[in-house]
């Protein structure tokens, strides 16, 4: 079953943020990749795009469905995980090891609206 990693911030729509200084690495949880099934395509924004908390910034397409990616925090995209362009299945192999975008956080206080791992575990039950 799904793995949960502590020390991350989680959203209700199953994205996570790993915070390192002023940057946040955004990806989808292991629970999410499990529910989606085999991922075949990841639609990502471009570097310098702005993402807004609660709004769509891309999509993950699996053999079952296409699901929007909802930004858990706001900020500017400084890097995208280009490896996912050729190997979207990396999300299935290791969801926490393969972030999707790296953003410069514009409002770190937004992190307070997200869940810690214990709250997220309950959310997934």
């Amino acid at each position: 079953m799904a793995n949960f990693e502590s020390g991350l911030y989680y959203s209700e729509s199953h994205e996570y943020v790993r915070v390192e200084g002023e940057f946040g690495y955004i990806g989808i949880s292991d629970y999410a990749q499990h529910a989606l099934g085999n991922v075949v395509y990841v639609d990502m924004p471009e570097v310098d795009d702005e993402v807004t908390a609660g709004e769509e910034f891309g999509a993950v397409e699996s053999v079952k469905a296409a699901s929007d990616l909802i930004a858990p925090v706001s900020g500017t995209v400084v890097e995208i995980n280009e490896a996912l362009e050729d190997e979207p299945e990396l999300l299935n192999k290791d969801a926490f090891g393969n972030w999707i975008i790296k953003v410069q956080l514009s409002d770190p206080s937004e992190l307070d609206n997200l869940m810690d791992v214990e709250a997220y575990k309950k959310h997934c039950e």
Partner: protein, 561 residues
């Protein structure tokens, strides 16, 4: 030397086993590609020696000329005929067996529909024929417009759109045209609009034909995927309305959205019963709330079968809707067409419908029987500029739409008649609820209570052996059934959506239920058998990931082989 045959499918014929769904009893399984039957130099034609070849490709510009011969298969006529006949035996349709594909209403297509549509008097018509030479055909067209309006509780229908999604787009274009033409009076029946905040009924700046500030379409998160797609194609912005745990619209969330952005809402799209097969208990409250905010209500007619003859979208407060004739009105789904998606509107919105429309000029025949009605074609040449497509060119499809499909739908309506049309919804509902109650011991029922025309399970109750909804669906093929809809709606991870329609006998449904129980038992006793299914089909388990990432759509075999 074989360079590349389609590596992700297995084409080895497998031994036939007896199916129970009526699907594969005694069926030969055929898996050849026509390229594999090719023999160099073999022809299926012969041309006379003196055949005039003067129109050869030398007349074409150099850049358009092929540099090397096309690698076409070379076969004799008999081989080609046998190949396609054998392939056709691999098809599975409603005429082959039970086809419980949720959300698609795969009902039986009565033979009489085909006979009517094939009549020379209809099949030989030309779309530009003068109206006085095809009065009977126009009468059918007119009567279908009227019948659909009556069944939907709306004022007028256009039969022009060629499919459900095309109907959705047309309906949203009507809604956009309505808002852009503001100021206007509200459609009749949507009276609460008049009492709404003055801000919402005033014309947006720019007046007639101008851009409207109403650009948002509210769509429940359980909606059919076509709803947000149609809204986006129409240039409108999708705003998601949340569902409650029971899958119905969260009215509080809707209220919150209307408070935040009510004056920007063009419409709300809904299907009722929703995609979980549940009748929306607050539909009247919802339509009233949206009308008060100045928006229109769009009814996605995909699930109309559940209500047919029982209750009407117009009476629930919907202003615009489409009907899938290939679902609710028994015309074939075909391989992606031809379909038909007529769009109906409430009184006050007729002027925004596309053309052509057929009008009746004279009253119906007098008691003496000597006054024949006259039917005329309104091509919209004098259409108001606000009509969809604009004056003179206000059509969304070619000519009249798919007329043959309309004939079949009209034949179906007349075959049932006013009394029997009322049986469709209740019988479809009874069948779905019977399946739901009999399968809930083995399949997880996430939502209690009555469903309408379809029921949704969330996979097996016992998931301990790792057998998924996908595996169950594949295993059903082995027993000669078409699979139900799977992994939709997205509200559950293992959705399995069964829609039996009103046509099936208790014996057919019981046999299906028995097989579903058998598969659940297999999932416990021999999970690998289910996980590796199907075993009885010409093509085994397809590698979905490889097929999605690297689809091989051509066959190539080197010439020198």
């Amino acid at each position: 030397m074989e360079q590349n045959t389609n590596s992700q499918i297995q084409t080895t014929p497998r031994p036939a086993r007896e199916g129970q769904g009526g699907g594969s009893v005694g069926r030969r399984l055929y898996g050849n590609l026509i390229f594999e039957l090719s023999k160099k130099g073999r022809k299926g034609y012969s041309l006379p020696q003196d055949y005039d070849r003067s129109h050869s490709t030398s007349e074409l510009p150099e850049a358009l000329r092929r540099k090397e011969a096309a690698r076409l298969p070379e076969c004799d006529e008999l081989t080609v005929v046998r190949h396609y006949t054998n392939l056709s035996h691999n098809n599975f349709g409603v005429n082959d067996g039970f086809y419980p594909l949720g959300s698609c209403t795969m009902k039986y297509n009565p033979v009489i529909n085909e006979e009517i549509a094939a009549m020379k008097a209809f099949a030989g018509l030309h779309p530009l024929q003068p109206a006085e030479t095809c009065q009977g055909a126009l009468e059918v067209y007119y009567n279908l417009q009227q019948s659909l309006a009556e069944l939907a509780g709306l004022s007028e229908f256009t039969l022009n759109p060629c499919a459900g999604a095309h109907g959705e787009l047309t309906g949203l274009m009507v809604i956009r045209a309505y808002h852009e033409a503001a100021p206007h009076s509200a459609p009749e029946g949507a009276t609460d609009v008049k009492s709404a905040d003055s801000k919402t009924t005033e014309a947006p700046s720019g007046a007639v034909g101008g851009a409207s500030s109403r650009t948002k379409v509210l769509i429940p998160d359980s909606a059919h995927g076509t709803n947000p797609a149609s809204a986006a194609v129409c240039g409108l912005e999708v705003v998601e309305v949340k569902s409650l745990a029971d899958g119905t619209v969260d009215v509080d969330h809707l209220r919150q959205l209307l408070d935040e952005m009510g004056d920007q809402v063009a419409a709300m799209m809904m299907t009722n019963p929703n995609t979980l097969g549940i009748f929306e208990p607050h539909v009247l409250e919802i339509t009233e709330m949206v009308h008060k905010a100045g928006g229109l209500m769009y009814y996605d007619g995909a699930n109309l079968n559940a209500l047919l003859g029982e209750c009407r979208p117009g009476d629930m407060g919907f202003d615009v809707m489409h009907i899938n004739l290939h679902k609710t009105f028994s015309t074939p789904h075909g391989g992606g067409g031809p379909g038909s998606g007529p769009v109906g509107v409430r009184k006050g919105l007729e002027q925004f419908l596309p053309y052509p429309r057929v009008k009746m000029e004279a009253p119906l025949s007098s008691p003496e029987g000597d006054t024949a009605p006259a039917f005329s074609i309104d091509w919209g040449k004098e259409a108001p500029s606000g009509a969809v497509g604009g004056a003179g060119t206000s059509s969304v499809g070619s000519f009249f739409g798919n007329y043959g499909v309309m004939l079949k739908a009209y034949a179906y309506i007349l075959s049932l008649g006013r009394e029997n049309v009322k049986m469709v919804g209740p019988l479809a509902t009874l069948n779905a609820n019977y399946i739901k109650e009999r399968l809930r011991d083995d399949y997880l029922l996430p939502i209690e209570g009555l469903c309408k025309h379809e029921c949704v399970f969330d996979g097996l109750v016992d998931k301990s052996t790792g057998v998924t909804t996908m595996d169950v669906a594949k295993r059903l093929l082995d027993y000669g059934y078409h699979a139900p809809t799977i992994y939709f709606p997205l509200l559950f991870h293992e959705s399995l959506m069964i829609e039996p329609t009103e046509n099936e006998s208790k014996e057919t449904i019981d046999a299906f239920i028995d097989v579903m129980h058998k598969i659940a038992a297999e999932a416990k006793s021999d999970p690998e058998l289910v996980k590796s299914a199907p075993h009885n089909t010409p093509i085994g388990r397809v590698d979905d990931v490889l097929a999605a990432k690297q689809p091989v759509t051509t066959y190539w075999k080197s010439i020198e082989a």
